[in-house]
Amino acid sequence: MDLTVAHQFDDAEQQQEASTLGMWIFLATEILFFGGMFLGYTVYRAMYPHEFAAASSHLDVVLGTVNTAVLLCSSLTMALGVYSAQLGSRRMLALCLGLTMLLGAVFLGIKFYEYYQKYEEGLIPGSGFTWAGANPNQTSLFFVFYFIMTGMHALHMIIGLGLMTVLVLLTRRGRFTPSYYTPVELGGLYWHFVDIVWVFLFPLLYLIDRSS
């Protein structure tokens, strides 16, 4: 009797199929969740294009680009981790997971530094918001969506780091073999998803009208 097959499943194949489908459905719900935010952002950007462009230019595009590169690299290390799991290489898997976590932590560090910068510049929406240009209210709306969207994203990253921690612990206990590494795969799917969300967030928030 295979101890890694839960009792409701007939065999390992069914379990793997079910788990993978479950993760894809969960990611679909996440698309809808972020989608609501994207919709609100799109509506207000269409209503106040100039204010949004002006606000966007106050974001640090260098840090944003670095973060994008960091996350893309972390997806690479994650994919290498899944590959290592397929090959049964425990040390490589643990190393890749660790690197992924490190890069994720770097991302979060840079993100929170950016938030701190915004605080210093008086760009946190609410009573402390200071804006020298025209239409501070509509401009503040940009920052509302900036903080909510990147904040939700950061929250998902933190949860991702938690998942990675669990995966590292399980790896060290020898839980994964070339015939069973589904949690690593699912963790990979989640991580790639969080990465893709950022790939959409970055141009929408940081790159409005940068050419002019």
């Binding site: 106040y48 100039h50 025209a134 239409n135 509509q138």
Partner: protein, 317 residues
Amino acid sequence: MEEGFRLIPEQASAFAARYDMLYWFLTGVCGLFALLIVVLIIVFAVRYRRRPDREPEQTNDSMGLEIFWSVIPAILVMVMFVWGADLYLDETIPPAGAEDIYVVGKQWMWKIQHPNGRREINELHVPVGRAVKITHTSQDVIHSFYIPAFRIKQDSVPGQYRTMWFEPTRPGQYHLFCAEYCGTGHSRMIGRVVVMEDMEYQTWLGGYTAETPVEAGRKLFVDLDCASCHESGQRQRCPTLGGLYGTKVQLADGRTALFDETYIRESILDPKAKVAAGFQPVMPTFRGQVTEEQILALIAYIKSLSPNVAVPERSAQ
């Protein structure tokens, strides 16, 4: 308003009669279908009730039946849609020359302003047989201006202007209700619509000597110093406003905007949002300095500067 028990609301507008025709058509069709289903269920349940001596007969499916009872309802609902859409489009486009009345809803009352200056609270006097156009907004939360006897309703949304129109056909008094939940006093935000014969209405309107919205608007225009920039003269730095109402204006960033009530309101409250082409964004904002009603008065004045807008005469005393 008629007291006592009724099952059908009064018809007091031109639209109401057309509305009720469609309503009874729907009732008839839907009633027939409902009756059909109920009768069939009862008949089958009795005719085929469980008896120890009879086995059920497993009938075959029928593609023909499925198509039949998909297509027929589809056709019927398309008839409903077209009829309803036709009525709706007529209903939402006011005819030219309709009498302009402004309404501001606030928690928890309706403030109504006639073009000649006469104001009302929770009461709307209108003449029978003439089209009336209501331009309305809200000062706080979303309300809804509802006159059941006319079969019309529209939400009053803060920050936006809406228009609706009707033509009363019967003198009398009718309910006015707020129909969008707006807090504690929602049920009390009610009033009445008084439809009068034309002569009576003129008399009612005339017995009032307050300034018209146009006059009030002119006064504000001067007091708030709009005139110094917007009228031709030494210090003019901004577009003059004559002849612009209803036209498309070119904006500084290349877009165009329709010079209507909404545009005028936005320009007063958020002047940098849509700056006119060829001018600098130097106009200050008046948010917090003018009420919704004052804005409506300014709009009435600015509208009067355009030749295509009829300026109502103040009725003779």
